[in-house]
C-alpha cells in the first residue's frame, strides 16, 4: 500500500517535470528565435554591402540549396514519424526513424560544408566583404545548430537502446523533435531571405 503511494508520488513527479521542461524548452526556443532574428536583421542590412566582391546571384547554386531544403524538410517529416512511433510504443520503429532523420541531417550538413568549401575556394571567404561575413555567420549558425542536434540525437538513440521508452526518454524525444522542427522553420526563412532573394 505504502509502496503504491510512493509509486504514484514518483509518477506525479515525472509528469510535473515533463511539463516544466517542455515549457522551459519552448522559452529557450523563443531566445533562439531572437538570436536568429538578430542575425537575419544583420544579414538584411549587409546583403548589398559586397564591397565590389561577388554577389549572391553569382555565388548561389540553385540545385544545391534546393536539395538542402528538400533533405531538411524530409528529415523534419521523419522526425515527426519517429514521435508517432514513440506514441504507439514501438521502440524499434522510433529508433529507425531517428536514425533516418540523423542521416538526412548529416547529408544536409555535408552539402553545406561542401558549399562553404567551394565558395572559399573561389575566393568568396568570410573576410571578402560584409555581405559574405553575414552570409557565412547566419547560415553557419544554423548549420552549427543542426550539427549539435545530430550529436544530441545520437546520444538519445543510445539512451533509447539502453532504457527503452520511459517517461523520461519520451520527454527527451519530444524536446529534440521540437528542436528539429524549429531548425526546419528557420531554414525556410534562410531559403527565402538568403538564397531565393539572393538569386533573384
Amino acid at each position: 500500500m505504502a509502496q503504491a503511494a510512493a509509486h504514484d508520488h514518483h509518477h506525479d513527479h515525472t509528469e510535473h517535470e515533463t511539463s516544466l521542461k517542455m515549457l522551459g524548452f519552448w522559452i529557450f526556443l523563443i531566445t533562439d528565435c531572437i538570436l536568429f532574428g538578430t542575425l537575419f536583421a544583420t544579414f538584411v542590412v549587409l546583403r548589398t554591402h559586397t564591397d565590389g566582391g561577388p554577389t549572391g546571384k553569382e555565388l548561389f547554386e540553385v540545385p544545391i540549396f534546393v536539395a538542402e531544403t528538400f533533405i531538411l524538410l524530409t528529415s523534419s517529416f521523419t522526425s515527426g514519424l519517429a514521435v508517432l512511433a514513440m506514441n504507439k510504443g514501438n521502440r524499434n520503429a522510433l529508433i529507425g526513424w531517428l536514425v533516418i532523420t540523423a542521416l538526412l541531417g548529416l547529408a544536409f550538413v555535408g552539402l553545406e560544408v561542401n558549399e562553404f568549401a567551394t565558395l572559399a575556394h573561389d575566393g568568396a571567404t568570410i573576410s571578402r566583404s560584409a555581405f559574405l561575413s553575414a552570409f557565412f555567420t547566419l547560415v553557419g549558425t544554423h548549420g552549427l545548430h543542426v550539427s549539435i542536434g545530430l550529436l544530441w540525437m545520437t546520444g538519445l538513440i543510445f539512451q533509447l537502446l539502453r532504457r527503452g521508452i520511459t517517461g523520461v526518454t519520451k520527454r527527451k524525444i519530444m524536446i529534440i523533435s521540437l528542436y528539429w522542427h524549429f531548425l526546419d522553420a528557420v531554414w525556410i526563412f534562410l531559403f527565402t531571405v538568403v538564397y531565393l532573394m539572393g538569386v533573384m
Binding site: 538570436l35 549587409l46 560584409a130 561575413s133
Partner: protein, 662 residues
C-alpha cells in the same frame, strides 16, 4: 631557451606597472592562503559537498552575493583610482592607456559582474520562498548559470594581470574594439568573459520565468503574487528577449576579430554603427532588467515597514509590464548624434520620455503606501527613503537627456555620467541594499548591526551627492567623459576635487558594510524566528530562518495577496486552531559536480581562444575546453539518478530542531 621564456613571459604577463605587480603578489598570496586554510582545517570535502556541487537555490544565492560583493570592491577600487586621477589637473597617477582600461573594467564589472549577480542573489534567495516552492524549476541549470557567471567574471578579471585589460569602453564600440585599434588579447577577454556569463544570465532568465509560471503554491493566482516576484517575472521576460541580442553582438565582434569578417569594420562594407545599435538593443533593456527587481524590493520593504498593503497593486503590476515593453523602443537615445535624422530621433525621444510615466506611477504608489502608514525606520526602510529623492532627480535629468536637441549638448559629457550613476546607484544599488538588509535575517538567521548600518547609510548617501552633483555642473562646463586629464585653465579643478572626496565617502560606507557583515557573523544574536521583522506580509516569513533545505515542510495553500499577513490575522481570531499538517516525503534534486566542471571548461575554452591572438598554440586548450563543455552536456544527458526523497521522519526531526511542531 631562456630568451624564449623571457619573450613569452613579457607577452603573457602584464608588466611594467607597480599596481599590477601588487595585484600579482596579492592574487598569489590570497590563493595560497585559501589553499592553506582549506587544507589545514580539512575543509575541501565540505566546500565541495556543501557549496561547489550544491543545487540549493539559497546557497547559490549566497555564492552570487559573495561574488557580487567582491566585484563591488574591485569595481569600487577602479572608481577611486579614476577619481584620484581626476582630482586635480595634470595628475600623473595613471597614464592614458591605463585610465582607458580602468574605466572599461569599472563599467563592465559594475553592471555585469556586480549588479547582475547581486540581482540573481536576491532572485535565488527570495523567489522560491515567496511563491511557496521548494526549489527553482531547473536546479541543475541554476547551478550551471552560477558557474558560468563565476568563470566568466574570473576570466574577465584575469585580464588585469595576464594579457592586458580591455580598453574600448564598457560596451566595446568598434572600430576601437577591432583588431586595428586593440590588437592585444584584452578585448578578447571582454568578449569571452561577458559571453560566458551572458549565457548563464540567459539561462537564469528562463529558469525563473518557468519557476514563477509553474511552481507557485496552490491558490496563488498571478494577481496574488508578491510584488518582488512580479518584478522578477518582468525582468526575466526582458532577459529572454534581450540577452540573445548580446550573444549575437559579441559573436559578430568575435567573427570580426578572429576570422577577419567585416561586420563592423570601416573597410569591406561593414558598419560600426550597426554594432552600436545592436549592443544598445540589449543594453537599454538591460538597464530595466536591473532596475525592475529594485522596484519590486522597494514595494516589499515599503509595505512591510509602513504596515500596510502596497497602494495600487494592479497599477504597480501594469506599470512594470509597460516598462518591460517600452524599454525596447528607446535604444537610439544612446546615440541621438548618430545622424539618423529628426523623425527617428523624435520617435525615440518620445518613447524615452514615456517611460517616465509608469515609473512616476510607481513612485507615487510608494509614497501613498507610506501615507498614513505606521512607518518604522528600520535599516531597509532607511535605504528606501534615501532612494526616493535620489531616483526622482535621476529620472528628471534622464528626461532632460531624452530631449534630442538638448542631448547634442550633453552627449558624452559629465552630465551624462552623473545621470546614469544617479539612476544606477540611487535606483539600483540603494534598493538592492535595502533588499539585502530586509532578507538577510531570513537567509542567515541574524540581523546586521544597526549602528554600523546607519553609518554606512549616511556615508553612502552624503558621499553620493558630494560625488555626483558637481559632475552635472562639470558637464555643463564642457568636461567630457573618458577624459584622463585636463589643464588648470579649464576651471574644473575645484568641482573635481569635491567629487573625489564624495567618492571616498562612499568607499568608506562600503567598508562599514563589510565590517557589518563580519561583525554579524561573529557577534549577532541568532534567531530562527519565522517573521524576523514582526511585520512580514508574504510567504517567506511563514517558515523558519534560515529555511531548511526543502523550504516548506508542507506546501502552503494560498488564500490571497499578502498571504502571511492574512494568516496572522486569522490566528488572532478567538477559537483559531491550526490544522494538523499532513507530511509527505519530499522530492529533492541531488547535488552535481557537472556544473562546476562545465564552468571550468568554458573558462579554459575562453582563455585559450583569448590568448590565441598572442600565441597560436593557445588554440589547443581552447578547443579542449569546448570539447569538455560538450562532454559535460553528454554526461548530464546520460545521468538518470538525479533526485532523491527526504523521508518523513527526517522532515519531522528537522522541523523539531527549528522549534516547530508538525
Amino acid at each position: 631557451m631562456l630568451e624564449n621564456i623571457k619573450t613569452f613571459a613579457s607577452t603573457f604577463f602584464v608588466t611594467g606597472d607597480p599596481m599590477i605587480y601588487g595585484a600579482d603578489v596579492s592574487i598569489v598570496l590570497v590563493s595560497l592562503a585559501a589553499l592553506f586554510v582549506l587544507t589545514y582545517f580539512k575543509k575541501w570535502g565540505y566546500v565541495w559537498r556543501e557549496w561547489i556541487t550544491t543545487v540549493d537555490h539559497k546557497k547559490i544565492g549566497t555564492m552570487y552575493f559573495t561574488a557580487a560583493l567582491l566585484m563591488l570592491f574591485r569595481g569600487g577600487v577602479d572608481a577611486l583610482l579614476m577619481r584620484v586621477q581626476l582630482a586635480a589637473p595634470d595628475m600623473k597617477l595613471l597614464h592614458s592607456e591605463h585610465y582607458n582600461e580602468i574605466f572599461t573594467t569599472h563599467g563592465t564589472i559594475m553592471i555585469l559582474f556586480m549588479a547582475m549577480p547581486f540581482m540573481f542573489a536576491l532572485f535565488n534567495w527570495v523567489v522560491p520562498l515567496q511563491i511557496g516552492a521548494r526549489d527553482v524549476a531547473f536546479p541543475f541549470l541554476n547551478s550551471v548559470s552560477f558557474w558560468l557567471f563565476f568563470f566568466g567574471a574570473m576570466l574577465f578579471n584575469l585580464s588585469f594581470v595576464i594579457g592586458g585589460s580591455p580598453d574600448a569602453g564598457w560596451l566595446s564600440y568598434p572600430p576601437l574594439s577591432e583588431n586595428a585599434f586593440s590588437h592585444g588579447p584584452g578585448q578578447n577577454f571582454y568578449i569571452w568573459g561577458v559571453q560566458i556569463s551572458g549565457i548563464g544570465s540567459l539561462a537564469t532568465g528562463i529558469n525563473f520565468l518557468v519557476t514563477i509560471l509553474k511552481m507557485r503554491a496552490p491558490g496563488m493566482k498571478l494577481m496574488k503574487m508578491p510584488m518582488f516576484t512580479w518584478s522578477v517575472l518582468a525582468a526575466c521576460i526582458i532577459i529572454i528577449f534581450a540577452f540573445p541580442v548580446l550573444t549575437i553582438s559579441l559573436a559578430l565582434l568575435f567573427m570580426d576579430r578572429f576570422f577577419g569578417a567585416h561586420f563592423f569594420t570601416i573597410d569591406g562594407g561593414g558598419n560600426p554603427m550597426m554594432y552600436v545599435n545592436l549592443i544598445w538593443m540589449w543594453g537599454h533593456p538591460e538597464v530595466y532588467i536591473v532596475v525592475l527587481p529594485a522596484f519590486g524590493i522597494l514595494s516589499e520593504v515599503v509595505s512591510t515597514f509602513s504596515k500596510k498593503s502596497i497602494f495600487g497593486y494592479k497599477s504597480m503590476v501594469f506599470a512594470m509590464m509597460v516598462i518591460s515593453v517600452v524599454s525596447y523602443f528607446t535604444w537610439v537615445h544612446h546615440f541621438f548624434t548618430m545622424g539618423a535624422g529628426a523623425d527617428v530621433n523624435t520617435f525615440f525621444a518620445i518613447s524615452t520620455m514615456a517611460i517616465a510615466i509608469p515609473t512616476g506611477v510607481k513612485v507615487f504608489n510608494w509614497l501613498f503606501t507610506m501615507f498614513r502608514g505606521r512607518i518604522e525606520v528600520s535599516q531597509p526602510m532607511l535605504w528606501v527613503m534615501g532612494f526616493i529623492p535620489c531616483f526622482v532627480v535621476g529620472g528628471a535629468t534622464g528626461v532632460m537627456l531624452a530631449v534630442a536637441p538638448a542631448d547634442y549638448q550633453y552627449h558624452n559629457s559629465y552630465f551624462l555620467v552623473a545621470h546614469f550613476h544617479q539612476t544606477l546607484i540611487g535606483g539600483v544599488v540603494f534598493p538592492y541594499l535595502a533588499g539585502l538588509y530586509y532578507w538577510w535575517p531570513k537567509i542567515f538567521g541574524f540581523k546586521l548591526n544597526d549602528r554600523l548600518g546607519k553609518w554606512a547609510f549616511w556615508l553612502w548617501n552624503i558621499g553620493f551627492y558630494v560625488c555626483f552633483m558637481p559632475q552635472y555642473a562639470l558637464g555643463f562646463m564642457g568636461m567630457t567623459r573618458r577624459l584622463y586629464t585636463y589643464g588648470w585653465d579649464m576651471g574644473w579643478a575645484p568641482l573635481n576635487m569635491v567629487s573625489t572626496v564624495g567618492a571616498f565617502l562612499m568607499g568608506v560606507g562600503f567598508l562599514f558594510q563589510g565590517w557589518q557583515i563580519i561583525h554579524g557573523i561573529l557577534y549577532a544574536e541568532r534567531s530562527n524566528a519565522t517573521d524576523s521583522w514582526g511585520t512580514g506580509r508574504s510567504l517567506e516569513w511563514s517558515i523558519p530562518s534560515p529555511p531548511p533545505v526543502y523550504n516548506f515542510a508542507v506546501v502552503p495553500q494560498v488564500k490571497g495577496f499578502d498571504d502571511w499577513y492574512l494568516t496572522k490575522e486569522e490566528m488572532k481570531k478567538p477559537g483559531y486552531k491550526a490544522e494538523k499538517p499532513q507530511l509527505e516525503s519530499i522530492h529533492m534534486p541531488k547535488n552535481s559536480g557537472i556544473p562546476f566542471v562545465m564552468g571550468a571548461c568554458w573558462f579554459l575554452a575562453g582563455f585559450g581562444l583569448t590568448m590565441e591572438t598572442a600565441f597560436s598554440w593557445m588554440i589547443v586548450p581552447g578547443v579542449i575546453g569546448l570539447i569538455g563543455v560538450g562532454l559535460c552536456m553528454f554526461a548530464r544527458s546520460f545521468s538518470y539518478d538525479t533526485d532523491y526523497y527526504i523521508p518523513v521522519d527526517e522532515v519531522k526531526r528537522t522541523e523539531a530542531s527549528l522549534g516547530r511542531v508538525v
